[in-house]
Symmetry: C2
Subunit: 260 residues, 2 copies
Amino acid sequence: MKEKLTLVKVGGKIVEEADTLNQLLHDFASIPGYKVLVHGGGRSATAMAARLGIESRMVDGRRITDLETLQVVTMVYGGLVNKNIVAGLQALDVNALGMTGADMNLMRSEKRPVKEVDYGFVGDVKEVNADLLASLIRQGIVPVLAPLTHDKQGHMLNTNADTIAGEAAKALAKHFEVTLMFCFEKKGVLLDAENDDSVIPEIDQDTFRKYVAEGIIQGGMIPKLENAYQAIDAGVKEVIITQASDIHKNTGTKVFVSPQ
Amino acid sequence: MKEKLTLVKVGGKIVEEADTLNQLLHDFASIPGYKVLVHGGGRSATAMAARLGIESRMVDGRRITDLETLQVVTMVYGGLVNKNIVAGLQALDVNALGMTGADMNLMRSEKRPVKEVDYGFVGDVKEVNADLLASLIRQGIVPVLAPLTHDKQGHMLNTNADTIAGEAAKALAKHFEVTLMFCFEKKGVLLDAENDDSVIPEIDQDTFRKYVAEGIIQGGMIPKLENAYQAIDAGVKEVIITQASDIHKNTGTKVFVSPQ
């Protein structure tokens, strides 16, 4: 039987402020067993770009990454945010190892083709090499993944943190029984956007499609749930959508695939 | 018998310009066997600090690292420079893994005590944990080390790259027969500073002391050679001082300790 592994994805907001970061690191440290942390950092990147006089342009919540912006996200995600988290976890005796997709060739991606939008140096993941990572995890290492990949031709590429989390979870599912936890600002997927306590405890694909059709689930929650179903189809044991302060509890919305 | 490992330390100048970086990566990739790369990045840090309106203050070639400067070096050394090197090596099929001293708790340091000078967030290395690193190296991983450590209390610390190289070499000497290569702008230690071809092929401690007394060896070369003798005393097989473009050749100045 495979051993359990928890992969937690947290957005930028949580890891960019000292108080919430500190709480997150304590909660994450208290998760038993094997684990991986995937982080964002968009707010810090936007703030750093502004200080450097670089305009941040977003389309549908995705950052247009020109060469200057690529340098900003490489240093902010891969350096500032990542190492801050790693040092914080080490202080809690969690043996963290910060990585991007370039490190150990963990994730090779291809620069997104230009269609209606030219996203610039943004990578779509093509290959995940998690065997060595799995062996490191078994040796007690806790990988901390920044939302960056590389093209195996010498270039870093900006990559969505939800995608990194989903791809890492799928690749690690060959080695572990993976719980993938997506954190966002709410307690879970809400039945009523105005009521924070209306968390849907479990949602299967049919219910998801129904809620989307009815407009109950909308916006950024749709790709998040689509990612979740894809991960389960690819072997991830369970996906939980919750808030960062609940990662050590058994709450949030459990996403599952109904038996056919 | 221990297997061979080559640890190359290159300064910022080489890794910060596309042409020299590209040449370095090719030369480094052609070194056979186990290897480690340690890099600087001071010029990029100074340039980035200037763009952010942060003044760079140096005392005896060491950077005064206030909190803002610590953030700059963390993102520039740990992110921008490190990941650029890692992606470049991956393109040459070198399975690079970028790390700071915080990652896998590789190097714990203590904030330098304030004496005549307050260097700020600068770390003096106290503990190196290289056993897991050695096992990774045996699995084909090539560590790329940024000049940053941590205090195991949640803080990154700026640390001299020569020190990182020396400490890593000493710790890895328990596992490998280590050649430590310090690169700088000259072909080796020169007998005549005006003559680039006056490389001293070998230098023992007595000759070193004599040359220092005579003023032949001066400035930054003195701590570099002191570091080298310390490394040899601590078990490193040989130390070579050379220029970056010669790392794949058997040239430069070999530093050795005379038998007592």
